[in-house]
Amino acid sequence: MLGWELPPHNSGGLGVACFQLCKSLAKNNVDIEFVLPYKTDQENDFMKIHSTTPMNYTKLKHHLNVYDGANYLSTHAVTSEQLNYENYVASKAQEKEYDIIHAHDWLTFRAAMKAKQATNLPLIVHVHSIESDRSGGESGNPMIRDIERLGLMMADKVIAVSQMTKESIAREYDIPLEKISVVHNSIDVDELGELDNDNVYEYIELLKSNGYKVVTNVGRLTIQKNITGLLYAAKDVVDILPKTLFLIVGDGDQYHELISLSAELGILQNVIFAGFQRGKKWRDAFGIADLFVMPSVSEPFGITPLEAINYGTPSLISYQSGVSEIYKNCLKVDFWDKDEMVNKIVGFLRNEGLAKTMRQMATEEIMSMTWDKSAKATIKEYSKHKKVLA
């Protein structure tokens, strides 16, 4: 299996999804060897991890980040990192009898194609996002698009993380719908750390005891995530409910732009930027919120609302997300519909009964979710294509 990151070294949801999927596949007796482009000392007992370079994650991330398509090929290191990865994979693939090559997202596609050429093994490419998702609806970097197109065409099967992603793959790259299967991501609530008694955001707790309500977003600050849209909505929410605080957790290329936008809108005092967080600070950001908002322009899957409810916080999410295909007990809105976003945030914040019912129903809902279902659906695809080979 080819991936570009695994937790704790991850810059987004891709690493988490790969890790959880592999874990559940292994439980279903799939023997996995996972290739990473950086050196990790992370240990696990369910799969073997290969590193293609001795470089550590921080250094690699500086050179080439999966979400950083705009800078692709603007540095020299990029091609060499990818070449290392490709050559390693191609030669590794010939060392023993593998059954399947399973590759996650564009950065691994060149390696996957090379390995397929060398071995004629069936190739499954797993799409967590495509370039047009990551560039917020623009077409994005044409070189990346070329890689994606080739990878999707060469693949024997494409797995998409949502129906929405399946449709955009078909639309952007003319891949026949029959070639694409949807395997939704999931969540195993037992896997997530628990909240403890004190919340690290003490100042926000103080405000809450003074009647403030907290709306949180956790994610990268890039155009795809539509935090701009959230801030415009925030302005109207604050006009109606002045005691509303927006906690924005994350980092990204829009960081400075978003701060100055809050100032222009006159709501700087209602918006708190907490930067990129992990561990307790990440969990507590969900924990302290009354409502989690994921207003993304395009979210191929989008696991955060499920993480939020695991910490007791219901969500408002855009219809333009894969998770909205499977998550029922939440509020939904079109990402461009600012007024409706305001309507739902306000309607939620001033209705304790609504909050209570949704929290209860949504908690019940995620308890029944599991990666095991996704793993079983993946194995089904494996078995179809293994047969073709035989």
Binding site: I240, K328, N329, C330, L331, K332, D339, E340, V342, N343, K344, V346, G347, F348, R350, N351, E352, G353, L354, K356, T357, M358, Q360, M361, E364, E365, S368
Partner: protein, 402 residues
């Protein structure tokens, strides 16, 4: 003594709240006028249900009432539906008037706004019952003598109220937990009452028509009139068969292509073929049979879901908070004498609004969803509460402290 089928049909439509956003609060006080293009709009639904159900069913019933001297039925129709028909489909209302004018249809009393007011404000409840009576008198020239509460929500206190108010009968669900070893096919008397009698719905026979008729996975499908009447004729220890159901069963819940209209047309003569069989209205049944026992219902009983309680309307926190919010405005709203404000407030009391907020079964694919114009119970709640905020805005405008 003959055996009787007591067929009672309940016709109702609410004023559904449109997508009413926070930006309209304080600016647009019209909560019920939907976009013309929206198929869930109140007028659109009146058009649809009239065409599929009210018009063909009235036609069929009038035909049957004219041909068969022993065929009779009872009907209730809410004030909200009557006003919607007056506004958007007067010819359909006329067909109900024609139906009643056959002289063989008895109208049953209820609240004008199809509300759960009995459980929140007795004063408001009594006003709505009076409003309904007056409306029925003016449209149909009949004064109802038998009472049914919204959703057949019934308990001992309601029966005592109806008894004191002079009703000769009241309707309730014939639920096994209440009946115990008895069955619903006799006349009963509510506990602690003087004169009033109780008719209890035969839910099995009623739901065979109302819910299961068109279900191809049902092992009795297809249900023919012969088979159905055989079931009734075979019932031991029975005098009356109380078939209570939504009027919209005919043509709307069960579409024409299920054969529901043919079933109706066929079952009447097949039942009457035996000269010991007849049809009765609710009052006829009360006058004709003897009370066999007393019924005690301390906890509220309804005709909904397997729980047969109010949980479909008041089961979750949003529903409880929303209905509390509405009744918390009672005295302030009634004090204004602003009849348009008061009417809007009453329309928001209609039980359907709370039903749309129901989350029961939502996680396993909701049967309730079929009856809701909203995508989720949460959307229903936000629209409703925005309308509630606007009621408060209007009170505030009048200088009333909110």
């Amino acid at each position: 003594m003959k055996k009787s089928i007591v067929l009672y049909l309940h016709a109702h439509q609410p004023y559904r709240v449109k997508d009413y956003s926070v930006f309209e609060v304080g600016k647009n006080h019209d909560y019920f006028s939907w976009d013309d293009s929206d198929p869930n709009g109140n007028q659109k639904i009146i058009d649809k249900v009239s065409e599929k159900s009210y018009i063909p069913t009235n036609k069929k019933l009038i035909h049957l009432l004219k041909i068969y001297p022993d065929f009779k039925l009872s009907l209730s129709i809410t004030g909200t539906l009557i006003t919607e028909l007056e506004k958007w489909a007067p010819e359909v209302l006329q067909s109900f008037v024609d139906l009643v004018e056959t002289g063989k249809v008895e109208i049953v009393a209820e609240t004008y706004h199809h509300s759960l007011a009995f459980f929140y404000s007795l004063q408001e409840f009594e006003i709505q019952v009076r409003m309904h009576r007056e409306k029925i008198e003016s449209v149909f020239g009949q004064t109802p003598k038998v009472f049914r509460n919204t959703e057949l929500a019934y308990n001992n206190d309601l029966a005592m109220w109806a008894d004191k108010s002079g009703y000769k009968g009241i309707l309730a669900e014939g639920w096994d937990k209440v009946l115990g070893w008895r069955n619903s096919n006799h006349l009963y008397k509510p506990i602690n009452t003087q004169n009033i009698k109780l008719l209890m719905k035969n839910y099995k026979l009623s739901d065979d028509i109302a819910f299961r008729f068109g279900n191809r996975n049902w092992n009795e499908w297809p249900l023919t009139a012969d088979k159905y009447i055989n079931w009734i004729n075979d019932s031991q220890d029975s005098e009356i068969f109380n078939l209570f159901m939504d009027y919209e069963t005919f043509g709307e819940h069960q579409w024409e292509d299920t054969g529901i209209f043919d079933f109706l047309e066929n079952m009447v003569p097949i039942w009457l073929k035996d000269e010991n069989n007849t049809f009765m209205t609710v009052s006829d049944a009360i006058d004709s049979y003897k009370v066999v026992d007393t019924i005690d219902v301390p906890e509220t009983l309804t005709w909904a879901d397997t729980e047969r309680d109010l949980s479909a309307w008041l089961g979750n926190a949003m529903q409880q908070q929303a209905i509390k919010a509405i009744y918390s405005l009672s005295s302030k709203i009634l004090g204004t004498d602003d009849w348009s404000l008061i009417e809007d407030w009453r329309r928001l009391q209609t039980s359907d609004h709370f039903y749309y907020m129901c989350t029961k079964y939502f996680n396993d694919g909701d049967i309730h969803a079929y009856f809701s114009p909203y995508k989720t119970p949460y959307d229903a709640t936000i629209n409703f509460m925005n309308a509630w905020h606007d009621l408060r805005f209007r009170l505030n405008e009048k200088g009333i402290e909110i």
